[in-house]
Amino acid sequence: MASHTSTPLEYSTKQNEMNILGFWIFLGAEIVLFSTLFASYAVLEGSTVGGPAQGEIFVLKDVLIETFLLLTSSFTMGLALHQMRDNNKTAMLVWTVITLLLGAGFVYFEINEFIHYVHEGLTMQTNAFGSAFFTLLGTHGLHVSLGIGWVLMLIIQILRRGITAVTARKFFIVSLYWHFLDVVWIFIFTFVYLKGLM
């Protein structure tokens, strides 16, 4: 069975190998992109003129819920990939759907969180802190939303075509993307929320 040979299916062709490497390099670019957003936030976080400060609006409980949703989704995504490598399509899809639900839960809570901030008087237009905050968080949230759509596309393709070299590669790449967003969130959690609450 293909999945038990030494190289997993997603690495089985030259083109697949190149696509995966290309995506890793894209993630390098994403690291730079998010660093720039973090740098802007770090420079502007004190500019809370005319609006609430971080400590007045951040709610640790909500942030922790979002964090655990995303961490768990990263874990279930890993399990889905594990099942893919076992060539177990049904289990793979079950874990993928769970991942999607957790991701959607994250987005739901984040939108609620944003609505809460708007009620507290912080929007992107309030001050420089608001601009930097919503841009950083919004970029991450947009990435997650895009990821949900992307995974949906792949579920359809795997249902239709099964686990092939091409679908396995595509799924492996989306799993990298998903884990990467989790990594970004860890830094948002630490350097935006915890720092703001301290």
């Binding site: 290309g22 390098g28 670019a29 992109l33 500019s47 809370t48 237009q125 802190f129 393709q157």
Partner: protein, 647 residues
């Protein structure tokens, strides 16, 4: 946006251009329809994923943009040719220097270099295409749509006018309420996507698709510079993406990244702009270094001197280039520590650059130099670029920079860096690789006119700026009084600019003449060159290599010729896999352009509605399982026999 301001009106110059642009476009459409070429254009060019054709499209676009940026330059020099000249008003002058800068850097230098890389690099490493051919087409079309969107600003809505650096707060909504700077933010964003994709594409191509035996340290120098430039693209362009997004949010959605009143920091823009902008200089100059290396080695009939130190210095330049950005704004009032550190890193860049200059000189030493046009440009590059480099070291000293900052001295400096460093290289590269692309050489005699007019014009235009800059003339001044005494210098500069333009015209004539009359019987290797791209036909077969060569050392094609290993055998030829053409890249890019256009005009609802097209493009691409096709070995054999003669 008031619709009555939709078209730019008022100035007879602009009205004339609008009519000219309108007529040209109608004329083109009529001509293509009359010649029944739409289908051919769509199938052979618009949907192509062939790296060579994409490269050629980049080069055509780059040359057109060179013309546009050049006209901007001529208008500036005409306006300043005499004191109190009344050719352009202040607003128009602002727009012209802004578009000149943006067009020349992003829509001239970048596409010309990426175009030549596209054509040459896969051939140099013995590959049949780039790693992601469809993505490559997407890169071109997003660049092209971005460039066109930017150029539309000239006739619809108004051009950006805050300089190519678009410094805040000047470029913000408060001080530039017109939509010109929206064009800047959106068009550059769209073009930037393509550049980032190119960077990733080239890195994977070079790392994964080299011919067997071609270790990294056996790659041709141009391929090395492409690799390092691509790494810099991936490192720097996301920063521009964020900076432009912040600018768009500030201008279109009322955010406050750069508005002081709401706690924003205009210097954040400068910081991010140059975090991208400085590496950008090296992104354009490194491939140029690679081209000179190839040309100098070929026409000195020697291998490149100091290959390893050359590689090391390229990597060193790239590493340092991420650590020098503050030298563009020493005068913002940084602490002494900041300015000192960046002063030192900036000066350190001169070391690897100097190493390269000496490597080129030593390559020529005792070589049998052949003064072809490509070689002439490389020879002229060395002294001109050195002037640019040395004045750069002057500017690197933070304390002294307070005197030079934003004067014409700076303008002279970066033109002495970028014109020899990029434009001369592109000319050298075009003369050198033209036969590979089109199957005929450019005429050497007309090329001499091009060369001498351009070199004389270039020095006449920019040398005076050093002196008036030291005399206190700041950049971007649209007029001055006679008592300044700058009049004669600037007149000389204007005359130089027109000689420069005559040089460019000579190039255009050369292309026309050579296309009509030049010999098509030039074989695969007209220069007796050294690297693998010359092992193919001129113009190159669509599959590049019938049999992928095995590489044993540097300058593999030279070794093959010496050892008589250039022939191929029928039994080595197998069916060749090729990627299929795709309409997705061009359609997707057009969708980006439409959404971008609405964003420029701040028509948010329309932009949101048409974003559906972008998402549709992504979905269509996700479901595209086209696996390409094969060229049968028999057909390959026939093609090879045709250009090689009897085997």
């Amino acid at each position: 946006m008031d619709l009555s301001n939709f078209f730019v009106t008022g100035d007879p110059l602009i009205l004339g251009s609008q009519i000219a642009i309108g007529l040209t476009m109608v004329g083109l459409v009529v001509l293509i329809t009359y010649l029944k070429k739409w289908k051919w254009l769509w199938e052979e060019w618009f949907t192509t994923v062939d790296h060579k054709k994409i490269g050629i499209m980049y080069i055509i676009a780059g040359v057109l943009m060179f013309f546009r940026g050049g006209v901007d330059g001529l208008m500036m020099r005409t306006q300043t040719s005499r004191p109190n000249m009344e050719f352009l008003d202040a607003q128009h002058y602002n727009e012209v220097f802004t578009t000149h800068g943006v067009v020349m850097i992003l829509f001239m230098a970048m596409p010309l270099l990426i175009g030549i890389i596209n054509v040459v690099m896969p051939l140099q490493i013995g590959a049949r295409d780039v790693a992601f051919p469809k993505l490559n087409a997407l890169s071109f079309w997003t660049f092209f749509v971005g460039a066109m969107l930017f150029n539309v600003s000239f006739v619809i809505g108004g051009s950006p006018d805050a300089g190519w650096t678009a410094y805040m707060p000047l470029a913000g909504k408060e001080f530039s309420p017109d939509i010109g700077n929206n064009y800047y933010a959106i068009a550059l964003q769209i073009a930037g996507i393509g550049t980032l994709a190119s960077g990733i594409n080239f890195i994977v191509t070079i790392l994964k698709m080299r011919a067997p035996g071609m270790k990294l340290m056996r790659m041709p120098m141009f391929t090395w510079t492409t690799l390092v430039t691509s790494v810099l693209i991936v490192a720097a362009f996301p920063i521009l993406t964020v900076a432009l997004a912040q600018m768009s949010l500030d201008r279109i959605f009322g955010a406050h990244f750069f508005t002081v009143a709401a706690g924003g920091d205009p210097m954040l823009w400068l910081n991010l702009f140059w975090l991208w902008g400085h590496p950008e200089v090296y992104i354009v100059v490194l491939p140029a270094f690679g081209m000179f290396s190839e040309v100098i080695a070929t026409f000195s009939r020697k291998n490149l001197f100091g290959y390893a130190t050359m590689v090391l210095s390229i990597v060193g330049i790239a590493f340092l280039s991420m650590l020098v950005w503050v030298h563009h704004f020493y005068t913002m009032g940084n602490s002494a520590a900041v300015n000192s550190v960046f002063s030192i890193t900036t000066m350190m860049i001169a070391i690897p650059t100097g190493v390269k200059i000496f490597n080129w000189l030593f390559t020529m030493r005792k070589g049998r130099i052949k003064f072809s046009n490509a070689m002439l440009w490389s020879l002229a590059f060395i002294p001109c670029f050195t002037i640019g480099g040395v004045t750069g070291v002057m500017l690197a000293m933070a304390a002294a920079d307070y005197q030079y900052h934003n004067t014409m001295f700076l303008v002279a400096h970066f033109h002495y860096v970028l014109i020899p460093g990029v434009v001369f290289a592109v000319f050298a590269g075009l003369y050198y690789w033209w036969p590979k692309m089109f199957g005929f050489k450019l005429n050497e005699k007309i090329g001499k006119w091009h060369f001498w007019l351009f070199i004389i014009g270039f020095n006449l235009t920019f040398m005076p700026m050093f002196f008036i800059g030291l005399d206190g003339m700041s950049r971007r001044m649209y007029t001055y009084s006679e008592s300044t005494g700058w009049g004669p210098w600037l007149l000389l500069s204007a005359i130089g600019a027109f000689i420069l333009a005559a040089g460019f015209a000579a190039l255009v004539y050369n292309i026309y003449w050579s296309f009509r009359y030049a010999s098509r019987d030039i074989g695969g290797d007209p220069w007796d060159a050294r690297t693998l791209e010359w092992a193919t036909a001129s113009p190159v077969q669509e599959y590049n290599f019938a049999v992928v060569p095995e590489v044993s050392d540097h300058d593999e094609f030279w070794n093959m010729k010496k050892a008589g290993r250039t022939k191929i055998k029928r039994e080595d030829i197998k069916d060749i896999h090729m990627p299929s053409s795709s309409g997705i890249p061009i359609l997707f890019s057009i969708a980006l352009g439409i959404v971008g256009f609405f964003l420029v005009f701040e028509w948010i609802t329309l932009a949101a509605i048409f974003s559906v097209l972008i998402i549709a493009g992504l979905i269509a691409n996700s479901f595209d399982y086209d696996d390409g096709y094969h060229i049968p070995a028999e057909k390959v054999w026939e093609t090879e026999r045709k250009w090689r003669g009897d085997l």
